[in-house]
Amino acid sequence: MAMYTQRSTLTQKVLGYGGLAVVLLIVLIPYGYIALTAFKPAEEIFDVRWLPRAWSLDAWRYAIEFEQFHVYIYNSMIAGLGAAVLALCVAVPGAYVFGRKQFRGKDVMFYIIVMALLFPFVLLVVPFTILWVKIGLYDTMPGLWLAYQVFIIPFAIWILRAYFAELPPFLEECAMVYGCTAFKAFWRVMLPLAKPIITSLMFLAFLVGWNDFLFSNMLTTGEGPRTASVIIYVSAVGGERVEWDVLMVMTLMAGIPPVLLYIVAQGQFLKTFAVRGH
């Protein structure tokens, strides 16, 4: 590593740092501008300038006191948490079996599950709406948790299966020699070993619930558990006049938590996303 560093030429360094700067600017200019906008008083929205003339928390106060935006943030959190817990209960046992057991039709079944990743989920909006109304899940939080699973489960199985498959062979057999049942071998030995990847998936599944708009919009009404994404959509598109300063506060409130989550877990995510296709 150290030797390689010395061999980087000046040209390489200039190109490297130049490229880095360009990419960072592409990302940071929009974010920087809206972050500052959130601290402008309402009358300053109409001139384009970076720093507010007078710093103000009015937009934040308005978003929370008048729009009750924290309630929707709370809804998003519950939506994400429920989705994550449900997804793990379903996908971890399934992925374990795909990763470590032999049975007939395994490869075909796994292929079908992974192909579901490519399925355009917008199609499900129609049958879901009809079915959810019929079975009383429409406009409820459990209805949302259930709907998110179609995104999460195929992805979770895909990633978890590979992890389980690469743990050392014969672990369960050893545990069973020491008197564990097949289930106990899974519960006491394999599950603790898979903790890092399960945590990582838990974050990702949470983000699916937090970030979703498609189902959250279609399967809830104004009286039901609306999530922050839906409210942002409605505030940006619904009314005649958009309160930009308030909207930018909302985008920060809904946008920053997932970013923090990504930053906290990014090393883990990087490993989770490591596709081995060579």
């Binding site: 390489q12 929009p30 079996v97």
Partner: protein, 322 residues
């Protein structure tokens, strides 16, 4: 970081075994374990059958009906399909769908550039830059859409302001309702939002390449371009193909941003197929037609990813022979 990875060796994601015939030879399962296998599989299978495949089949059935939100569905055979292919907006929709899918190429370019830069050993504070780059993807797409609605606003947006004051445009452009610009804007905003997904996959692939390969290439006198061609590219080709396949499918299926930014308009200029589905389902309440469009979306998606899927399978076969 490097230490940590050494402690947890290789739990990389092996998609190659997604294909049949990859099963490793493990000891045969004892009969007493059967119950565990089927019990563990049951929730997954049940969820996917009930939540994905049955609704999908129901939808196919619906596409042969005039199926209103309220009222009795009525069998009309292939009429929805005839209506769709004969409609004036059909070609507009197909054209803009293809244009929109090109956003994948833009995402790949940006992601590859950023990943190559961050993989250079001389760059400091890598994890900070990586965190910044992940921001657009981490946030809800609707949030990113709202941000761009503000920045691109013709009256008080930053972009319009600077373009005017630098003399690049002479009067404000209504980006989201302009028939020429709207389709480009939704494509650009989608690229800006989703490129970090490819970035994180490519970066992970780059970091898995052993340093010694580069050293060897350098000993043989390979210049940076040759090193990229001979070492980097072959090692990340699989990850690249996988990322492209997933992104094409997801870009075409994600409706948040076009829906929020343009609502599919002006006219049908930005009604990519997924938006058209949503328009029929949500605005016209014509569920049969919505699903007809949806099936076409599946078809288009698979036509677009087919060449990459073939490339990916070839890649895996080669890897196995090695």
């Amino acid at each position: 970081m490097a230490r940590q990875e050494a402690l947890h060796p290789a739990h990389t994601l092996d998609i190659s075994s997604a294909l049949p015939a990859a099963a490793a030879s493990r000891p045969r399962t004892a009969g007493s374990e059967r119950w565990l296998i089927w019990l563990f599989l049951l929730p997954t299978v049940l969820f996917l059958v009930l939540l994905l495949w049955l609704p999908f089949l129901q939808g196919v059935w619906m596409s042969f009906h005039k199926w209103p939100f309220i009222g009795e569905p009525q069998w009309i055979g292939l009429q929805n399909y005839r209506d769709l292919f004969g409609a004036a907006y059909f070609w507009t929709t197909m054209r803009v769908t293809l244009l929109y899918s090109l956003s994948t190429a833009l995402q790949l370019a940006l992601a590859l550039g950023a990943a190559l830069v961050l993989n250079q050993s001389f760059i400091r504070l890598k994890s900070v830059w990586r965190g910044v780059m992940l921001m657009p993807y981490a946030m809800p797409p609707v949030v990113v859409g709202a941000i761009w609605m503000y920045l691109l606003d013709p009256d008080l947006g930053m972009v319009t302001h600077y373009l005017l004051s630098w003399g690049i445009i002479s009067k404000p452009i209504y980006w989201f309702s302009d028939p020429v610009w709207a389709k480009w804007i939704i494509m650009l905003v989608a690229s800006w939002t989703f490129w970090p997904f490819m970035f994180i996959i490519l970066l992970a692939a780059l970091q898995a390449i052993p340093e010694s390969y580069y050293e060897l290439a350098e000993v043989y006198g390979a210049n940076p371009w040759r090193r990229f061609r001979a070492v980097t590219l072959p090692h990340i080709r699989g990850a690249m193909l996988a990322a492209v396949i997933i992104r094409i499918a997801w870009n075409l299926a994600k409706i948040e941003q076009p829906f929020q930014l343009t609502g599919g308009g002006p006219g049908y200029e930005t009604s990519v197929l997924s938006i058209l589905t949503y328009r029929f389902a949500y605005l016209s309440g014509d569920f049969g037609m919505a699903f007809t469009v949806g099936l076409l979306l599946i078809l288009v998606t698979f036509v677009l990813i087919a060449p990459f899927l073939r490339g990916f399978q070839k890649q895996i076969k080669q890897a196995r022979r090695r």
